[in-house]
Symmetry: C2
């Protein structure tokens, strides 16, 4: 049985950007304490602190050691937790702050992108028993040597869900400035809908395809431990979006989100003999070289020659092209080329499974706008199309209009 | 035998105030590494960081919890150590940074003014064996519960000397912006002399009497462990001042420093019966109430009535006066009064022991200027006079002129 007495909350950097906002967060926490909850709060660094610390390091060196970077960045959260504890004391709520080290957030040793392996609940439970609100520094942990590690951008979400998991709670509230999960980026679509509910898999797919609301690992953790993530705003008391098991969802949309991802480039290897092992060789080499490959499409052409297209992060493109070059002879390929100005436009939704013709409808609305589709990839709950990036916003708008806006009415 | 291979250095906040200065400190450390030293470096927070963090906390609460204050303030040094390690890497020197927690700087649990009880050398020694420069966060430690503690203003000096003690070194270099110990405050005396050598006891006396070059506890630690403190500038390569055992000093001045202290007030309790136990009662009560009493003078007047004058910090004056009021009847005193606008002007020097007439000469130069002496207190190596604070600078100038300037010529 989940523990319904403990409430785990996470407040992002915007929510604690100034002393005034920290006081507002303290007032919100107090309201939960007054309702009888034992509250465990995870906080990020104030506002742009992390960016400022990175800028400071860049004045010293262009190639900072990742261990020292984590030593530096972890101070941001330590400042927030102490100030939030003070703000709670000021309004009469007993509270105590803990660093990742103090509650033994044990991670692997991959500095700047460490993964949590365990958290000790001993000290947290003791403080909760003493009726203290517990304030924990997000984003940080220690490895087995007590070196300070960090979890990567957005890692505080994962800190919060991991705490919810070890404390056995059902819910975890994630306070952000956006206040929920939307059907599209409001910078592209004027009036996107806020989703009341969304499944773990859809959320993961949206995160993978460009929606930056939640740290992916936090959603994986939540799925694994069956924790409901309530994404909401710290600036008002509106209900947000709940990321939850698909089976428990009351409402299912055909498409719950439309995204555009513009940080990838496309590589095409042409005219390679269509024989087994080619794809394994290409993507094995990419993996060995830590290049993240997102979409992959293979097609067979004439004379038993195939071509493979795939997308990598633009920042990895040069490296990936050099690797392709090294394979050219071995594969017997006639050539390869890359294209940088692409966008991956995707539609995600569990409802696709039970709706006919979703893909066809998407291809049709794109063709009506004369948008050429360069690659297509489908999963159980999503369809992604690679198009020229000048059409990215247009594509999102028309897909959103045909699938989502009728339901808004 | 002291370890002459390890060099412990401490750089103050001014020395690491900007990325450029941090790089200059790294270059200096490199020069020691190149000479074959194993270097252990203690750093303070950058520039005014500590003040800025205090100001930030004051926007949240006027009465911050001291535990949370230490959580907050300790981040300042953590930023400096990571940046200094990066700066060393950048110029090809292997280096690793450690927080107080990571090298187990164990203190008592008195937040904001903790005392170091032990330091583990295990991890430092291991890093030195790996030919790494070790960068340690000054000012901070942990208590037995792993709460973060700080040592009070100037505490990084004490961190450095404590490290020198546990590592068994003979020397500890303290880099400051002033570059040494001077015979007087340069804001008062135009051309004070930099002392080549000064004894631990003189340095302690100077610190007690208003010279703020070194944290007192660092000098006590150095004296106890026979460590030479080399106070010097991080902005040039001039020799500074060495705080060392009196017996090993080459030069002894009659007076090595003249100070003025203006943060104390004087209290006088008049006409109390001259019987045993009065002083014990008064100062016992002050001690119980954590009021620091500096000078004490008792005089016997007519009719076996005594008066006691003493000085306390101006910030403690109201509290001390209330305590006196509570004792009035018990002591049978006719009254008490206080004076805020006083200064304690002092001359300190081991040479006083072997020189005749120093006190007389001081009283004479003050009387020549018509400066009235309200209290006098002497120790083996110092003489302090309480005077009206409008004469403080004049008194320092004339005492400096008669004792120190002839030796400068």
């Amino acid at each position: 049985m989940p523990n319904l007495n403990i409430m785990v909350q996470k407040y992002g950097g915007t929510s604690v950007a100034t002393p005034e906002r920290i006081k507002a967060v303290a007032a919100r926490i107090k309201s939960y304490v007054m309702k009888g909850f034992s509250v465990v709060v995870v906080v990020s660094a104030m506002g742009k602190t992390t960016d400022e610390l990175i800028a400071l390091a860049s004045k010293i060196t262009a190639t900072p050691s990742s261990r020292e970077m984590d030593m530096l960045l972890s101070t941001g959260e330590q400042v927030s937790i102490s100030l939030l504890a003070m703000a709670l004391h000021e309004i009469g709520i007993d509270a105590i702050s803990y660093t990742g080290s103090q509650i033994r957030v044990l991670t692997d040793g991959n500095f700047t992108r460490a993964k949590i392996e365990s958290i000790s609940t001993e000290r947290i439970s003791r403080s909760l028993k003493e009726n203290k609100a517990v304030i924990v520094a997000g984003f940080q942990g220690i490895d087995t040597e007590e070196n300070i590690t960090t979890l990567g951008r957005g890692g505080s979400d994962t800190s919060a869900v991991a705490l919810a998991a070890v404390l056995g709670t059902r819910d975890c509230e994630i306070y952000t400035d956006v206040g929920g999960v939307y059907t599209a980026d409001p910078r592209i679509v004027a009036q996107p809908s806020k989703l009341k509910e969304i499944s773990y898999d859809e959320m993961l797919e949206l995160a993978r395809l460009g929606a930056a609301v939640l740290h992916s690992r936090s959603v994986e953790f939540a799925k694994k431990h069956n924790i409901r993530l309530h994404v909401r705003s710290s600036f008002n008391s509106e209900e947000g979006s709940i990321v939850m098991p698909k089976e428990e969802m009351m409402e299912k949309y055909v498409i719950s989100g439309v995204t555009a991802k513009r940080d990838e480039a496309k590589i095409t290897i042409r005219d390679i003999p269509d024989r087994p092992g080619i794809a394994a060789r290409v993507f094995g080499l990419m993996g060995e070289n830590r290049i993240y490959v997102n979409m992959i499409v293979q097609s067979t052409g004439k004379d038993n020659k195939a071509s493979i297209s795939f997308t990598v992060l633009k920042s990895d493109l040069d490296k990936a092209m050099r690797l392709c070059d090294s394979l050219k002879q071995e594969l017997g390929a006639t050539g390869f080329d890359s294209k940088q100005n692409i966008a991956i436009v995707s539609a995600v939704g569990v409802g696709m499974l039970s709706s006919y013709g979703v893909a066809g409808k998407i291809f049709q609305v794109l063709s009506e706008q004369n948008i050429n589709i360069e690659m297509i990839s489908t999963s159980e709950i999503g369809i992604s199309c690679v198009i020229d990036d000048i059409y990215a916003e247009l594509a999102v708008k028309v897909i959103h209009k045909i699938f989502i806006e009728p339901e808004q009415a």
